[in-house]
């Protein structure tokens, strides 16, 4: 086994290389990456996670960073590229600051710095966001609310999408996603809708290649991506049978004793048993059979003769979902069968394929996403999924803060009314949970961290504050003068705000308008999402700086860094020597 000393230099090189890869895809002006295979397949994407996963990374630090990035993206749906940019900027600041120490960082001092930064993320960051940024955001948005055309949800979705797909596609996608949300939210309140869509997004969307993106739409019913094997148009609502195994398989119920002996009329017996079961189905007035496996030919013949529609090879998870939302009743005798009531059954044509569409009584809708190429389609699906992950994170954190406020001061009636009302998004806006896109959060955090008076670690705050500016700098990299312009005006505004806040005089006229983003329509982003990004980056930095040594083992290489167990083993490999010090950091 070989051992090598891990230095700050290696961290900077690894993260620097990854940053250079994704930097070109950041923001609305960012480009896409074209991947080609020897077989001729191409993949054009600017989705950060997809780009990073396609690279060949064998260095354990790179894989660890990729794991952190994927975990963060799964939680918030946002900020893969910004994550790497911020991480790289922080590492470079640390490296530069060590030049003044006239010596190299020793490993314990690096770990100490990492701990201090983590402490900043827990204390100072929390304070600044709660006491400075949120009130500013609330005042700002309320002040400029007359400029907000359309609902807040539209602006949030617009803000998320505009940085990830081209302008023409962003409009279509925004319209379609808002439509899906509004149609599903008819039966439930905002919070439940978002949570429902986020957790079941894989069943609520269908991807279709070969059509232009303008053909994306929301259709009623649940689309199943296979065609009917036997189809008769049923009239009105029908009873459907859901089964997970083949008819011919088990003709013995669980719990019965079986004696195995080959009899002469074995085939005839099984035939008659199947006939009996099928006849019992007709007694139950079942007109549709949904099966997760392929049924024997005998069953298809029976279905054709008796005008029963048969759908085979459906994903069993989708069948579970259907039975959950339709309140299925389970048949007692054959154990793996459910009966559901369906409002209607249809056959739909989507982009050259025929699919089945099942209507439920719960007003289920499916989002049909179209794109000309598979890579682009994959990107659109990821973006759509990310939108709902971001909204879910926002609503969850908002409800948590409300709940904690309520628990602290139970006499507050306001919070209760906000929770119960349908206007979750209005509540979020008023409470200062959103800010305009374009780097406003980073500027605010930079300013407030530098001027934080009751901080116990000003050096680490300064480090973080300087590194934060890398994000807006990259966003405006095409037009550096604009960045400097915005920075100057904004910081002047903030100084004025600070002054008037202390004097408790009337609110200052905030000069910096919504002209932050390049597009004319203002877009919003979630403050809690941005805060979570900074926290995740500092946690990843802590892991990187606490690596004592990398041990190269002779066991075969694993392909793909996604499993959690592999991550643990990497950690075990990487922290053999300094286990004492790392344990002491767990506060």
């Amino acid at each position: 086994m070989q051992e090598e000393c891990v230095s700050l230099q290696v961290c900077v090189s690894v993260v620097g290389a990854l940053e250079c890869v994704v930097r070109r895809c950041l923001g609305p002006d960012g480009g896409s990456v074209l991947f080609t295979r020897d077989t001729g397949e191409t993949l054009i994407t600017r989705h950060g996670q997809r780009v990073l996963r396609t690279l060949h990374l064998q260095h354990p630090m790179a894989r660890m960073v990729l794991d952190c990035v994927c975990a963060h993206a799964k939680a918030t749906g946002d900020g893969t590229k910004s994550f790497l940019l911020l991480l790289a900027a922080l590492l470079r600041e640390i490296q530069d600051s060590h030049m003044q120490r006239k010596g190299s960082w020793s490993i314990p001092s690096l770990q100490n710095l990492a701990n201090r930064l983590l402490a900043v993320s827990r204390k100072e960051l929390e304070d600044v966001v709660t006491h400075e940024i949120t009130p500013y955001a609330s005042l700002y948005c309320n002040h400029h609310s007359y400029k907000l055309e359309g609902s807040i949800l539209d602006l949030l979705i617009g803000g998320y999408i505009s940085g990830r797909v081209g302008i023409g596609q962003a409009d279509v996608l925004k319209r379609v996603l808002c439509e899906l949300y509004h149609k599903i939210s008819q039966d439930q309140n905002a919070e439940e809708t978002i949570s429902f869509i986020h957790s079941h997004f894989s069943f609520l969307h269908t991807a279709v290649t070969g059509l232009p993106i303008g053909c994306s739409e929301v259709i009623e019913g649940l689309v199943v991506t296979c065609d009917w094997s036997v189809w008769t148009e049923p009239a009105g609502s029908v009873k459907a049978l859901i089964l997970y195994e083949s008819f011919g398989a088990s003709f013995v119920a669980v719990g019965e004793n079986i004696s195995v002996c080959i009899q002469k009329d074995y085939l005839q017996r099984t035939e008659s048993a199947m006939k009996q079961k099928l006849a019992s189905l007709l007694d139950l007035q079942v007109h549709v059979v949904l099966s997760s496996v392929k049924q024997p030919e005998r069953v298809s013949q029976w279905a054709r003769l008796n005008h029963v529609s048969l759908l085979e090879c459906v994903d069993s998870a989708q069948l579970d979902f259907l039975s959950n939302i339709s309140a299925a009743e389970t048949l007692s005798h054959p154990p793996l069968q459910h009966l559901v009531m369906l409002k209607y059954c249809r056959r739909v044509q989507l982009g050259g394929h025929r699919y089945a569409c099942l209507g439920t009584f719960l007003h289920m809708h499916t989002l049909v996403l179209c794109a000309p190429a598979p890579g682009f389609l994959d990107q659109i699906v990821c973006v759509s999924q990310g939108v709902f992950a971001m909204l879910q994170h926002l609503s969850q954190s908002f409800c948590q803060t409300l709940a904690s406020d309520q628990s602290q001061s139970p006499s507050l009636d306001q919070s209760q009314s906000v929770l119960s009302s349908q206007d979750l998004w209005g509540g979020i806006l008023r409470a200062g949970g959103v800010l305009p896109v374009g780097g406003m959060f980073e500027f605010l955090l930079h300013h407030f961290l530098l001027n934080e008076r009751n901080s116990c670690d000003p050096q680490s705050c300064r480090l973080l504050a300087e590194a934060l500016l890398c994000l807006p700098r990259t966003l405006y990299s095409r037009n550096h003068r604009r960045f400097l312009n915005i920075q100057t005006r904004f910081l002047d505004d903030l100084k004025q705000w600070d002054k008037t806040k202390e004097q408790r005089s009337e609110m200052p006229e905030l000069k910096v308008g919504f002209g932050f983003s390049e597009s004319s329509v203002p877009c919003l982003e979630s403050v809690s999402g941005k805060k979570q990004l900074v926290v995740s980056v500092l946690q990843c930095l802590h892991r990187l700086l606490c690596v004592g040594a990398i041990l190269n083992t002779r066991c075969p290489l694993r392909t793909g860094p996604q499993t959690h167990s592999e991550e643990d083993e990497d950690e075990e490999e990487e922290k053999p020597k300094h286990s004492n010090s790392t344990q002491s950091t767990d506060l």
């Binding site: 090598e4 230099q9 290696v10 900077v12 090189s13 690894v14 620097g16 290389a17 990854l18 940053e19 250079c20 890869v21 930097r23 990456v33 690279l55 060949h56 990374l57 064998q58 260095h59 354990p60 790179a62 470079r92 530069d96 600051s97 030049m99 003044q100 120490r101 001092s109 100490n112 710095l113 701990n115 201090r116 402490a119 116990c456 670690d457 050096q459 300064r462 990398i550 190269n552």
Partner: protein, 232 residues
Amino acid sequence: MALNADDFEWEPPSEAEMKVIQARRERQDKISKLMGDYLLKGYKMLGDCCELCGTILLQDKQKKNYCVACQELDSDIDKDNPALNAQAALSQVRERQLATQPLPESNGASSSEPPLSITGQPRPEHCEGAASGLRGPPPAIQSTPLSVPTASSNFLPPATPAPQTAPPLGPVGNTLLHHPALSSAEEAVLHKLRWATQELQHSGSVEASIQLCSLIRGCAESLRSLKELQLS
């Protein structure tokens, strides 16, 4: 968590330190950019570092290891540095020579001080005809019809004694000095002309005939210019 004051003191960096920081950061940025480009081209980022410079190694699809800093960055710098590279040194000297070398239009003017190449050999010949002329049959003359100007300039330094380092001598002196050179040059050219004519008569291929004709033309032109010189 006690804060150790010695651990992390921050003071503004001095100018020299700033320059070092900037240079180092630029180099690091260049390396990162190159690595990022190679990663996107399908190279694999390995878990090892280069032994010479400590940069992370990349591996291409043919399983060959590649260090970005050693192969691309540092060689760019060293390649052109004369102190480190003999080739660069030689080419630098030749460039200087070219810049100060007199233009070869008139034979007399500044040929009193023609700079020699370092090795003292005549300048490399630029065409096949000239080279074949060199290899040609006796007399063993160092020049050919096409490089008469250089020949005259090369002849001069051994002929002129040291005190005559002053810039251009009078035309009289030049003519006197050139007489033996001119006549021997004329002889050589005539001889070559005769040889080429003979070869042309016996030549079978078109290419060779064309080349011999051009050689004859060159000889004729040289003779004409020699005559002009003699008359002037």
